[in-house]
Amino acid sequence: MAELVIVDTGCANISSVYFAIKRLGVEPVISADAAIIKQAERVILPGVGTAKAAMHNLAERDLISTLQGLQQPVLGICLGMQLLTAHSMEGDVACLGLIPGEVAPLNAAGLRLPHMGWNTLHSISQHPLLKGFTAQDYLYFVHSFAVVPSQYSLAQCHYGSDFAAVIGKDNVAGAQFHPERSGKVGARLLQNFLEWQL
């Protein structure tokens, strides 16, 4: 049984997530095999690209029901987080529906898009994943779509408007920023995920 499986979504940059986990002393397994994913202690759903392409890849690999049935801690990163919600307006596609919510174009109120760079969080809730996080911490974001804030937001970010930076429900959570590219602060989120007890 693997300690941590990174779902091979068929998107390009899985290596950076793989190396970030490895730097924390855990050897991740990258897999698109439903049996291996089901048995993992923890699962990371990465993702770069568009929601439509990613959902297409997951369907092609016959992974949708597997991901929907996971009981262990699950972390979606960037697009992977968006896929956890019910629906994305990016390509008008149904997502995994693990956390209620909608992905909409980020309302940047005239600011430049994509929202690219280091930004801070606010409305940070008490959650094991956010242990040690403060409003002074900077995380690296790259995106043009975002999850609309709701009761499932664990932290928000502001860029023109508020959007959900971290979401969570039961055993499933997601981060819009890239913890694998957010220096020591990002590593803290990944470490918190590795220590998350349900």
Binding site: A12, N13, S15, S16, F19, A20, K22, R23, V48, G49, T50, L111, R112, L113, P114, H115, M116, G117, W118, N119, T120, Q136, Y138, Y140, V142, H143, S144, H158, Y159, H178, E180, R181, S182, G183, K184, G186, A187
Partner: protein, 257 residues
């Protein structure tokens, strides 16, 4: 609040970091991986690696160093040089780079920008532009093959037209390298950056000319760029990133401490 980015640029040739003056006379600065690691730990917000020989001499270049960087670096990094196709870019991104930057190949085949956008998403696609002020015409013009002095040539593009075109094709970020200023440490080309800023809806990165900490304050406050790229002032230890960040914060610039 979104922070302005400080971006050390490492020009790479044959696996070593090099730096020239106005794109010439390259000297070796050091090995890639330890330098990259040092910059990440010192507080760099992002790194850019330019394989400066790749575009100009047409050979297949060993890019295995990209993976070695991805293993140790926990900040975003971009790879430029010699990326001529979607397949080339895919390999770089697979090895762990966050973005690819194209320059001469985009001038040879502008459609490559659209193809990269469609395949990997806008956020991966950076277009580098080498812009030179032509005194005779009073215009900024785009140059290509700037990695090799013997092949460097003027294109038919005025810089402002090319900036509009690459955005139309789907670029996610533009690095504007002001060649007149490169390596001479007399300050960023504020007039040019300001005029391009007005035309640029995607993140704009200033490149070429950083010599003092005040130059960074000026480029952020005057030209409103999203990031400032520099090489020699960092490589030669003229500016320490921690001191620079403290000054920029004191000057009221939004910076990640």
């Amino acid at each position: 609040m979104l922070a302005k980015r400080l971006i050390p640029c490492l020009d790479v040739r044959d696996g070593k970091v090099v730096k020239g003056v106005q794109f010439r006379n390259h000297e070796i600065i050091g090995d890639i991986v330890p330098l990259a690691q040092r910059y990440a730990e010192a507080g760099a917000d992002e790194l850019v690696f330019y394989d400066i020989t790749a575009s100009s001499d047409g050979r297949v270049v060993d890019k295995s160093w990209v993976r070695r960087i991805a293993e140790v670096i926990d900040i975003p990094f971009c790879v430029a040089g010699g990326i001529k196709s979607v397949a080339d870019a895919g390999k770089i991104l697979e090895m762990g780079a966050d973005k690819v930057s194209i320059n001469s190949p985009a001038l040879a085949n502008p459609q490559l920008i659209a193809e990269l956008n469609a395949t990997f998403g806008q956020q991966c696609v950076v277009v580098g532009i080498d812009s030179f002020f032509d005194v005779a015409s009073g215009q900024y013009q785009v140059y290509q093959f700037t990695g090799d002095e013997s092949r460097t040539q003027k294109t038919q593009w005025l810089t402002r037209d090319w900036v509009a075109e690459v955005q139309r094709l789907g670029a996610g970020e533009i690095v504007l390298n002001c060649m007149n200023q490169d390596g001479v440490r007399q300050g960023y080309d504020l007039a040019q950056l300001k005029s391009i800023r007005d035309l640029c809806r995607v993140p704009l990165i200033a490149s070429g000319g950083a010599g003092t900490m005040q130059h960074f304050t000026e480029v952020f406050s005057t030209a409103d760029v999203d990031g400032a790229l520099a090489a020699s002032v960092f490589h030669k230890g003229i500016i320490q990133i921690s001191e620079l960040k403290a000054k920029l914060i004191a000057d009221g610039i939004s910076i990640r401490p």
